[in-house]
Symmetry: C2
Subunit: 591 residues, 2 copies
């Protein structure tokens, strides 16, 4: 199951997300001309295709091995990680201060898609490290930064995020891991963390744990959480890994997928306390954690896009090879000539393209928020905030749907592990769960993001969609005029649903919460159909060689997927009462 | 992960499918009064809950072992199979002639749901045997029947279905397995079959293979296929297993799910030819095979229902236990009090109930076709034919969707194999593929079933749905009147889509085929919303203790799921062109 990074599609999505002018002199990405962007993606593609993708199946089949506190990764993984660090890939998007290359997040997003398509289990290690680096950049002291950030940024010392405990999953108010002041400015940690991705492994000489814990005098709830850094090995005076810290892996999980990556239970302070250093201020760990998670949410969305892309490539290749039934000539025809198979392939292609568009738009907004100033920066930050739950939840939902369709196209072969189609679904299935379940994303969207600046963010987004619709309607091309009508119907439905949810008196009331998930999907359909339609029109005008492909994809999305919009609107506006009745029944013991 | 057979729900679905009067004296099931039906299900439930369900996880974890031609099942499976045969469960629905109990298919359907919910890998063995028994009953000679049927019906000699070959999956025209006349009325088989479920195992003293093969002088294509019976051991003069036949298992598959059941590659005739006997007439094997498969399609649909039921039970139990976030009182609340979780649980419940209703209606129609005569029997046969693709495809599609939601409700725990939620998705994922992929079901629906008696079957079904709508509309109950409007909108959309597809000039043309899958889903939504709504109304009128539950489920289906109907109608009527454009692009090498 080879993987080829679809570089043209990625560059196209980047240009669409940022606007063509952004890459010109004086534009947002004046530091990144189109040729440099393409060259970077081509190098990334080479590394992903040649070094990472071949290890994907090995990692799935062999998994990782746990034995008395040590974790051994699958054959070839250590070597690949060394090449990763040497190639400088880890430092891509980190700020220049401590060795980062400071490339735009938009380019980093495209690379993240590539790594995760090639080998999500491998890519998870740097993905989580990225969030830790971001939190350190914002919140850590200069001393802590100089001691740790250069190695974290290079990837020599990958970082982990230690949030979850058995009694506290999505809800961090109930964390029990204890931090004590040691008197010398450092702290000692005691407690157990679960589901720690790459909590222990043999890929690197050291591992840096970022850990949420509670001080003895901390207020209850989430306002009493602090963030600490606890290395596996404490750096000696020469900066090299020295004394072993009091933190160890006490077990790993047997999981549905991402077998190549260890999911660890970590124990802190079994023999006196794990030496740790405060990141940010005491009891302000939650803000630090959000810095980690916001970055990670977009990255997890990109995992969904990457897996969807790979599933689509794999299914299309199979559909061209496998012959079943008869074609128009009466001879056995490749199944890519069967309309029902084409429907599945187009569903995969269209959803992948829409999710990619949404994720890249989020990344470009984050770049704008960083690089612009004043009201422009604030608007961009709000847009990124609004789009992040969409990027995370829609992309990972369709990641699973697309991987499942990929199995279906393979028929019986899809159920056989050697084919690789099944692994993509098993791997994808975690993405709607971690970094905030997709339900939590939807709730974040309707309760917080919808009310950013009194709703200005969502209304600006609707205006932007209307601009895309107007462009299609004004095209004088019957195909695009028809697409503009479908897109308008979807955006109208989204606007009515937005009106409805904005008007509910209690922004956290059951009516709002019951409609959260269909609202997020409706938003994605409206945003997807406008992005793809306007993109296809631009491609046709530019004489893009892939224009026909983009038109087919956009048209399929409009005529077959976006048509679900009004049904979702009904579920949001009229469906909440039945959810309320169900809640009353089920929570009182009825079944 | 215990399983409790929801006996009240099953009895309710049986009564709704057959009509209350059917169980009264003089009714269709006069031989089966309500008390007997309930007692049978209770016994079946006991066996499934105590003997089968506990082996489900063991089978998944340990799988089956292959070594030089022999296959060993997981610990405890042999003993359970002996109990299965001793309990007489295998003989439930077989006709009385050769030891069958001749119970109605409707009751057998409820039992099939129970077995598969408890342990699908185990239940697969008798499930496939059932189809073989049916084919033998209809097509085999009396001599063959008396030699094999009693042991096949008792389950002592379970049967397999040998259709697939590497080059011929869904398309049997290209079968190459060779049959030669031996001159004594018997035949010799040569060739290889793949994906043979329970092709070899240690559960029983003998295995009976039904094999599709081609005679040397057979016409090309599907008109040249014959069906043969080839036992693993040839019965000796005493009727006991005697000489070993020339058929062996040469390998098993490593699969995504159903690990407890062996999926075998079978080799026939490596040392002179496997002795085989003709079932039916030469070159008429396809008709015999349809007899096997029709039965199996409904049964696979019931696998979907069973897995969906189990996933729902498991998720509901977890949602009542797991606490996250705060409830109205400010204390940690079980997640069953979160509206977004309730939306998922109701989606699971409602789809499971709808799929069950459709499957049981199919089974009841088959009973009517068998037990009535003349036009009534023919109409019932056509109805069963119309509903079978729906029963198979909708139930297995939602089986996967519901199992996936079950994982989501478990959060991170859902991804951990020990929890059991992930196994349900892995097991369910084969059901949309085998016994005719769901795409093939949809194509069968739109190309053949839609035109049964010039469309009379589908229009009778629409009339039946309208009767349900009228009952709700006439209820003088605002809730049901509102439900009748939603149901009418769904049925109207289905009717328009039916008009559209019935009017296409070429019943196998690309327009029809492109709309097949959304049409099947639309049919299921229309049939589901009317079945659930009318059922809930009947439950309320009867003062059923579960009436409130059924109303909540029906209402949720109407307000949140059936609202997708018009979007599907649009995809069917307007979406085909974009599929055609995609076919042209993808089959010419574009990507």
């Amino acid at each position: 199951m080879p993987y080829r990074a679809p570089i043209d599609d990625l560059l196209f999505a980047m240009r669409r997300a940022a606007g063509e002018a952004a890459f010109a002199p004086g534009g947002l990405y004046a530091d990144l001309d189109a040729a440099t962007a393409a060259a970077t993606l081509e190098e990334a593609a080479k590394f992903a295709e040649n070094a990472l993708a071949p290890l994907d199946h090995v990692g799935d089949r062999d998994g990782v091995n746990f034995s008395v506190g040590t974790v051994t990764t699958a054959p070839g993984w250590r070597e690949a990680y060394s090449l990763w660090v040497e190639g400088g890939w880890n430092a891509l998007s980190a700020p220049p201060g401590h060795g980062g290359m400071g490339l735009p997040l938009l380019l980093a997003a495209a690379c993240t898609e590539i790594w995760n398509a090639a080998n999500i289990s491998f890519a998870l290690c740097p993905l989580l490290g990225q969030g830790a680096i971001e939190a350190m950049e914002i919140h850590a002291s200069e001393a802590l930064k100089s001691a740790y950030l250069p190695k974290m940024i290079s990837g020599e010392w990958p970082a982990t995020m230690n949030l979850t405990e058995p009694q506290a999953g999505s809800d961090l108010a109930h964390l029990r891991t204890r931090a004590e002041r040691a008197g010398d400015g450092s702290y000692r940690l005691f407690g157990q963390k679960i589901f720690i991705t790459y909590g222990e492994h043999d890929l690197s000489e050291n591992i840096i744990h970022l850990v949420l814990a509670r001080l003895p005098d901390a207020p209850a709830g989430t306002r009493g959480i602090s963030l600490f850094l606890a290395p596996k090995f404490l750096p000696g005076p020469d900066g090299r890994p020295g004394a072993r810290n009091d933190v160890r892996c006490v077990g790993i999980e047997r999981k549905l997928g991402i077998h190549g990556s260890p999911t660890c239970t970590m124990s802190y302070g079994d023999t006196g306390g794990a030496i740790a250093f405060l990141v940010g201020r005491e009891n302000e760990g939650l803000a630090c954690m959000f810095a980690m998670m916001n970055n990670a949410r977009l990255s997890v969305g990109l995992q969904g896009v990457g897996l969807a892309e790979r599933a689509t490539q794999t299914a299309l290749a199979y559909a061209r090879e496998r012959r079943q039934g008869r074609g128009p000539s009466g001879d056995p025809a490749p199944i890519v000539e069967h309309p029902d198979v084409v429907r599945m392939l187009l569903t995969m292609k269209a959803q992948t393209a829409a999710a990619r568009g949404i994720c890249y738009l989020t990344a470009a907004s984050l770049d704008r928020a960083r690089r612009l100033e004043g009201a422009q920066a604030q608007a961009a930050q709000e847009r990124a905030g609004l789009l992040t739950p969409l990027a995370k939840a829609y992309s990972t939902d369709i990641g699973c749907e697309v991987a499942s369709l990929g199995i279906q196209i393979h028929g019986g072969m899809g159920f056989i592990e050697e084919t690789g189609a099944a692994q993509l679904l098993r791997d994808a299935r975690i993405t709607p769960i971690y970094e905030g379940t997709n339900g939590i994303q939807a709730i974040d969207l309707v309760t917080r993001k919808l009310r950013l600046s009194k709703g200005a963010a969502v209304w600006r987004e609707i205006d932007d969609m209307r601009d895309d619709i107007d462009a299609m309607a004004a095209s004088n091309d019957a195909l695009f005029v028809a697409m503009s009508r479908r897109a308008a119907a979807a955006v109208d439905a989204f606007e009515r649903a937005t009106d409805f949810l904005s008007a509910t008196p209690d922004p956290r009331g059951p009516e709002t919460l019951a409609g959260a998930t269909p609202y997020l999907r409706l938003f994605a359909l409206a945003r997807g159909v406008t992005l793809l339609g306007a993109g296809a029109l631009a491609a046709r005008r530019a004489g893009d060689t892939a224009a026909q492909n983009r038109i087919v994809t956009a048209r399929f999305f409009a005529d077959n997927l976006a048509v679900a919009a009004e049904g979702l609107e009904r579920a949001i506006i009229d469906g909440g009462d039945s959810v309320g009745a169900g809640l009353a029944l089920l929570s009182s013991g009825g079944d």
